[in-house]
Amino acid sequence: MYPSFFLLLLLTIASLAYMQGKRRAFSLTGLAAGSSRLHSRPGYYGLLTALWCVLPPLLIFVFWLAISDSLLIAMAMKTLPTSLQNLSLDQTDLLVNNLRNLIAGHVAARDIDPVLEKAAEQYIGLQHISQMALGVVMLVTALFSTFSVYRRICPEMRARNHVERIVQISLVLCSTIAILTTIGIVLSVLFESIRFFQQVPLTDFLFGLKWSPQMAMRADQAGSSGSFGAIPVLAGTFMISGIALAVAVPIGLMSAIYLSEYASSRVRAWAKPIMEILAGVPTVVYGFFAALVVAPFIRESGELFALSVSSESALAAGLVMGVMIIPFVSSLSDDVINAVPQAMRDGSYALGATRSETILRVIVPAALPGIVGGVLLAASRAIGETMIVVMAAGLSANLTANPLQAVTTVTVQIVTLLVGDQEFDSPKTLVAFALGLLLFIITLILNVIALYVVRRYREEYE
């Protein structure tokens, strides 16, 4: 409650600072009366003052958020009797956990340990004090920095440049956050994978043809030692994604061409939103559609041709997934095709080209980067899709080229490996990270290839 109150107060002071800064700049122009003009427009002086009012306290606030909890816990733990202070690392962790639960009030009254309760009280008391202190420090900093900037306002001050500098820095910060997150995720996956590869050789993983990650838990247990060949799982992923793309790319592209080139604006107005609804259907719904309608249908039609189709098949999952990703292809392609200037079409028509010639030779090449972008997006959705596969294609890792058999995919395996209680040092769970890393690298390569294709064949209009 306190921090939010102080933040509100801070904003109020900031708006006051804005007005004061602006006013001071105005009054300076009045004094100077044309002899020395302001460097920037008065608004910038106000903005600069307000920014200096908000930013330093905000930094302090973020800093406090980052460290206060661990600091307070440490201080609370100090109040515990010495017998409890020199425990092993694990036991301390447990104790801290208990303490936290107590502080959050998650513990029934009769289970409360009086010693811990005291620590919790200590924590809460300290928290109050630190919040008060934080508020005061923030206010003082705000007033101080505001005032010092306010006093330095003079006609020569380059307020606009300062403000632009601050804006630029914040832009850089935002993009850094995105980049750092990516790097962080990649690194954490990478480190876990390295742990996995210390136990299972890289070549076994990359080139192994057998996937059965079950491992004996105890020495006396019968069972395999687990084999971690990624090929069957990858093959399943590619087969299902391939089927999905084979469905989605032609249908999506053609419907995009129809919508943007042939359909009247009235048809467009209702057809496009309906197609986009497809993208909003939850994948579980697609999943049972695949399992209950499409898979039986495929099996029955297979029987007509005396083909043995398993009740779960790659084809069923791929077809339904294809329908799911149609809107990614169609909607994006439609947008880029629409963005091709009418002048291109006119130029082609005026040379006596037909509509289809114009579309094939002028419009699609000009829209190619966007179309490839849409296909890539669809492909990454297909590769990452889990639910439909679980429900329609099964969990068994067959290495097969027959789309009528059950297969499994990388993401499905990751889910099944990590569901339930797991210990995070056995190869069985660590392989999930290795699979994740592999998937990441493969999609990255796909992206690079697509980028190259686009660069090579792009026809840029103005």
Partner: protein, 297 residues
Amino acid sequence: MESMSAVLKSGGALFSGAEGVIQAQVRQEDKTPREDRLTVGLPFVDDARMTCRGVSVFYGEKHAINNVSIDVGRNQVLAMIGPSGCGKSTFLRCLNRMNDTVEGCRVVGDIQLDNLNIYDRSVDVVPLRAQVGMVFQKPNPFPKSIYDNVAYGPKIHGLASSRAELDEVVESSLKKAGLWNEVSDRLDQPGTGLSGGQQQRLCIARAIAVRPEVILMDEPCSALDPIATATVEDLISELQEHYTIVIVTHNMQQAARVSQRTAYFHLGDLIEVGSTDRIFTNPRHRLTEDYITGRFG
């Protein structure tokens, strides 16, 4: 002559329903009385390639061309002049039905090419546009290489049977448009990378590569320097031996140099048509005179 006036009348009757709207708009835009805006001069010729009778064009509610009747003579150059926004481009685009692609655009009246109504249901616009080529006011090269820009038309119409023949068509078209010397060593680079004036000539080369019989040019020299302009004017004079040409221009000297007949448009009306010599030496209509002597607004 009689049949012609009959057509004129029926053309007038076609849009009589919209007359009220037109009147209101005209009064808003211009003080010139209605009866002063009838075409003066000689809109009709004996040997006509294209004949237009009572042509009106609407963009939705907006009345852009008002009951225009004019002939385009065979192997002649017709220049269209007039202040900006008077409907020159709009009228030009009617002649090969490019207005079909504009949503909400409606063309009424009768336009014939070799005695065939091009707005007839039975007419296929694709061969029509191959026959009546067009160079647009704004250069619109395709985002392809310079070579492919020029080869586009010949390829789709199968005008060249071999690669060598295609090369020849491309080279001769570029030469005629006066662009060959500048681009001969970079035919594989994108046409969109050329300068504005070069793009304009590229579009001319692209249009004549299809060998249309009638060529419509919308300000083909607006971004060209005097030397390139002279090349294009030479091209027009050369083409005129075999082709029929309609050219829109804001440059009076150009109209005087290249055309045999000149038409003056004013706010959607065709004010005066006549032989170019006569129009520029002895305009009959006050509006025409004001415009060519530079007194217009």
